[in-house]
Symmetry: C2
Subunit: 118 residues, 2 copies
Amino acid sequence: MSEDRLSRVFAALADPTRRDLVARLSSADATVGELAAPYDVSLQAVSKHLKVLEEAGLVSRESRRAPVRLEAEVFDLMTKWIDRYQQQAEERYRRLDALLEEMQESTPREASREQDAS
Amino acid sequence: MSEDRLSRVFAALADPTRRDLVARLSSADATVGELAAPYDVSLQAVSKHLKVLEEAGLVSRESRRAPVRLEAEVFDLMTKWIDRYQQQAEERYRRLDALLEEMQESTPREASREQDAS
DNA sequence: CTCATTGTCAACCAAGTGGTTGAGAAATAG
DNA sequence: CTATTTCTCAACCACTTGGTTGACAATGAG
């Protein structure tokens, strides 16, 4: 299920610490210890965060103590989803705008007839 | 904090039901009742989901029973974040590739004449 | 105004999350 | 091989989350 995968990716990035890990890994691979150093949480906590990122496919390692690497391809999954609905929504706005213009064109006088009070 | 906002947006989209709501709203506005109909959870549950989407800025309503509307601009927040690190990561891969090529160039014994593509 | 419809709030519950500490596995150094 | 360093697993805790049901607020129709 690719749907479930998307859920895991979004959930993984919903945490600021994990987003920061991704940000840092985008400029250089790093070991768990190196990654953990700047934060004031335990190494275990960071290890857990990395596990979440790994299960979302955002990050990988060749072995236990090897440097962690960012898997940037996963980003495509998200951007594809986002683009799809963003474009669909924008298309709707365009059509709505067109419709509103059309209505204003065809009923310029009759509209002023409806002096609605409340 | 814009950081916190990103967290809320990602978290909101980490749920399949909420992604489906967004997908449906991208093609037409709809009331809470209409939105809830297809799912086999309670109306209250859907109302909660919409609240989450609303607090993430993904959705809005003019009044209580008015149709819910998708706010597609928020998508920009995500794509900006994603693009930034995706590009940074890709840039790194390019540099790494270049480095590897360079190393392969210098290792072969008689390959020192490989400056043809300048 | 009165009533029915529509949506939200409140309280609750089971499961999940991000953090902790302690113990132990696994990789590297001596 | 042994010792040390690096990382993960397990158990636990407080808090959040997605769901429920029941009561109630707010809006629209008669």
